[in-house]
Symmetry: C2
Subunit: 375 residues, 2 copies
């Protein structure tokens, strides 16, 4: 019931080691190491998980890091990263890496964008310059970056606009086939992305198409973008009933501790989210009982760590009073210490979920965990 320790296993195979209801524990093999699932991937948008050294990520036992194709294409440029030996070498992270396709960013970050069948023309959020992504270019950029897992170029539509979702989903499917055709590297796994907004029939159709391509992994996009939690859960259920059980399922851009517990129960294996580092920069600590605003005056003379039971570097060494002081004094170290704590909280949660699944106790664990969680 433990992850396969042999890195020599064939790349991109997925071993299911335990099932507990719909919840799964597995190991995804990549050229840069094994990823135990369920897993949470900290986000290193610009080839750095904000405020942390790669040694700190190793100490946190991070097993998969995400980087953003859109950002790295614009700065420093994927050609430069390739010239420096690829993203692993460039950022000095020897473990598994995942890059998204840039699709989400050109639809969410860019001021203006124009979509046509061939691709998307957009303006840089940095300097307003005009750029164009196509499925082929997204793959070429991601091949320059060289992450272990790369994502298909997709179109993320407004979740409630049915007509737009039908159109965007169909285009996403055609773009995926173009990504597959464009792909040349054998040491990267291409994941397809299910779209379809909040519409079960569209989600089902999309999952059927994506599953039919027999990719090494599959993702669910366009969720956690404004829809309700029941809608999100319903979409995941529809999709996971279709996606193959023997491939990892990646829910993009999610989430909170509650989301992780809920969606692991629905059969999700991989998560990523900027939440732990973003909350850290906004002075919030994530704990197993909810969020704490560490700037709060009540912590000024509080000698306790953020979480008494937490084993992270921050909680092993520092008091709430010290962290509040750093925040009040506008010291960078507060962001670092809270990022360490928040990422640890999520990595510890997925490790606990995995252990519970292996022990056949997912539902007991989830019930107990959620009963104590306030936010």
């Amino acid at each position: 019931m433990h992850p396969n320790p042999h890195k020599a296993a064939a790349p991109f195979t997925f071993d299911l080691v335990a099932l507990d209801g719909d919840a799964r524990a597995g190991v995804f093999h990549t050229p840069h190491g094994d990823i135990p699932t369920p897993i949470f991937a900290p986000v290193g948008t610009q080839a750095t998980v904000k405020s942390l050294t790669q040694r700190q990520l190793t100490e946190l036992d991070a097993r998969l890091i995400l980087a953003n194709t859109y950002h790295l294409y614009l700065r420093p440029g994927d050609d430069l990263v390739a010239e420096m030996g690829g993203l692993h070498k460039f950022m000095a992270w020897d473990g598994p890496l995942l890059t998204d396709s840039g699709g989400f960013q050109v639809f969410s970050l860019s001021d203006t964008r124009q979509v046509d069948e061939d691709g998307v023309t957009f303006k840089s959020h940095i300097d307003g310059s005009t750029h164009r992504f196509t499925p082929e270019l997204s793959v070429a950029i991601q091949e320059n970056l060289g992450a272990d897992i790369i994502m298909a170029f997709d179109e993320c539509a407004e979740p409630y606009d049915r007509a737009y979702n039908i159109e965007a989903m169909a285009r996403t499917h055609r773009w995926l086939e173009r990504c597959q055709a464009a792909k040349t590297r054998r040491d990267q796994a291409l994941f397809g992305i299910v779209q379809g907004g909040v519409f079960p029939d569209l989600r089902e159709a999309s999952a059927e198409f994506i599953a039919s391509l027999d990719l090494p992994g599959n993702a669910i996009g366009g969720l956690s973008v404004g829809e309700t939690k029941p809608e999100m859960h319903a979409m995941i259920e529809v999709v996971n009933a279709v996606l193959p059980a023997d491939k990892p399922r990646y829910l993009m851009g999610v989430g909170t501790p509650q989301d992780l517990v809920d969606c692991v129960g629905l059969g999700i294996d991989i998560f990523d989210c900027v939440l732990p580092t973003r909350l850290a920069r906004h002075n919030a600590a994530m704990t197993d009982t909810g969020r704490m605003n560490m700037m709060n005056a009540q912590y000024a003379r509080d000698e306790r760590p953020i979480s008494v039971a937490c084993t992270c570097y921050t909680c092993q060494n520092h008091s709430r009073a010290y962290i509040r002081h750093l925040i009040q004094a506008r010291e960078m170290l507060s962001g670092t210490l809270l990022s360490i704590h928040n990422i640890h909280t999520l990595l510890n949660l997925v490790a606990q979920l995995r252990a519970a699944i292996c022990a056949g106790e997912y539902h007991d664990f989830a019930r107990a965990y959620l009963a104590h969680l306030n936010s």
Copy 2:
């Protein structure tokens, strides 16, 4: 010729282990550990060396950290620090700590100040509120903070104003006697501070007075504040001819690699300066051959570390290209990586100086080092 490894040695004794001309290698014993000298102390103004965790400081083998009384008195308050168990516990740094007296800051940071025989009334740089420091209060604050080495409350005058220096020096001497009388803790060493501007006769008189008090260590203040290097060196020579050889000599607020090499040659044992972390926040790397502006376009595709021979974490893991990318992308990690590198450069330099002194090769080392140094 190695530092005494026994922490049990009597606190605040200073063992001279080697002399080489006026350069000295020693060990200063404190309740929180031995400090090999010459030593450079990174500055943790607000109970944090900016952008670094205390674990990173330990990995850098930092042996003495300075914190600022003025800042900690204003925020979070020395009473709060005392309630949290003192500065060592508050900031989770179990090694030797030094606090300055606040004297320099009330004269340099405060918008307005009024000096009288009893003390200084000043306005907070944070909120403009009015505060008053006296020698007795400075000692009381530093006793609340609990550093191993505490500094006498002094008046730092304009270096070229002779009349003001005569007055300020005499007051500094009277304030030192009041600090001595006010001091109650036996686990803290009080250092006196020599003043006297750029005037050799005043510096000599000040050193004679300070030396007469037989304190566990002595400091030189009011240098590196606008005078020329030859003036600074002349003052150090005058002062060190008077200060006892069997007590450590601390040159406050200095300095650059050149300063460290020069002033160790003049018999200085302890240095502190914000330079390595301040330069890091301004994208500059300190190396044994000079400063590098890491934002420079020439580093964009440079796969080499900042310094090929450097053994710091940053140079062992990261390229100039990556660091430049972090700077361009305004990522906090650039400040952390450059702070690690810059502090390592100065700590490595004082370690090399110490080894050279122990080998009787200070002058050869200094000549060779300075021949390669451009800034």
